[in-house]
Point group: C2
Chain length 138, copies 2
DNA sequence: ACAATAAATGCACTTCCATTGCATTGGTTA
DNA sequence: TAACCAATGCAATGGAAGTGCATTTATTGT
């Protein structure tokens, strides 16, 4: 078990206090978060720093971006099993219409999608919307 | 074969010059368009009018909205076979990373997606990204 | 045909998120 | 320790979505 510091360094990400905090915040969250979510969690930090930190994490492939159709970009840590750097690795995101949370269903792989002749598929974005387990249990 | 006027009236949409123009514009396009696309096509018209016209078309279910992950909402006319008013009717959208166009693949239905226990699926958004037939033929 | 009514349009404005430029701070390295 | 480069913070911009209100246009009833 590596420390977070070691992990970040192994990904060529310089370790700073802010980055550690943001990484921990993402790690605690089980759902994808927006920039504003992070902003609200760290009122002291500047929005730009958070933005650029996330972008750095994205470039270094420890975070991936999720477009769940709410119009606001969300981000989540890549987990074991998430090979989002491999374009053909496709997993599912679930957006709850009730609590508005978006969850990575890393273990749910997407079936191969057929496209018409002449089309080349490089990437697939699949978002299922509905009611999540927490909300449906109410 | 109904005229456009008759068609709009059958959907309880009042016919105006602007609406006819916008409808024809959408009908000519084989791809989904953004509000800005429409705006550029009709420089005389106000953006608000275009915006509200599209919203009206959407409400009356002759246009559907597409979220292709570019961050900009696109719209396309519903075609025969597109029953987008039925939430379980799901068809595929293809976004070309080369020409940036988004196409409705109405005839390609989405396979049933399994979600974990406790999750209720109401709606699915599936966008395949890659290279379209026109661009791949180059 | 005309007045009353309702819908459509146009203009101005606001909000929200994403993104960039630039100056400053802070950490690394020669 | 000086020089350098990356990270941070502040300010500002841009783009898209959405709203309020006044005006124009169309519809309806008398």
């Amino acid at each position: 078990m590596k420390t977070i510091e070691e992990f970040l360094e192994s990904k060529n990400i310089r370790v700073t206090a802010m980055r550690l905090l943001i990484y921990k915040f993402l790690a605690e969250k089980l759902v994808a978060v927006t920039l504003s979510d992070i902003e609200n969690a760290f009122e002291k930090a500047d929005r730009t720093t958070l933005y650029r930190t996330i972008k750095t994490f994205e470039e270094k492939e420890i975070v991936h971006q999720i477009d769940d159709g709410t119009g606001i970009t969300k981000y989540a840590l890549c987990e074991k099993g998430c090979n989002c750097e491999i374009e053909t690795d496709l997993h599912l995101h679930f957006h709850c219409n009730n609590c508005n949370e978006t969850i990575c269903l890393t273990e749910h792989k997407i079936p191969q999608i057929k496209v018409p002749d002449g089309f080349v598929s490089e990437n697939v974005n699949l978002v299922v919307k509905g009611i999540c387990d927490k909300c449906s249990g109410q």
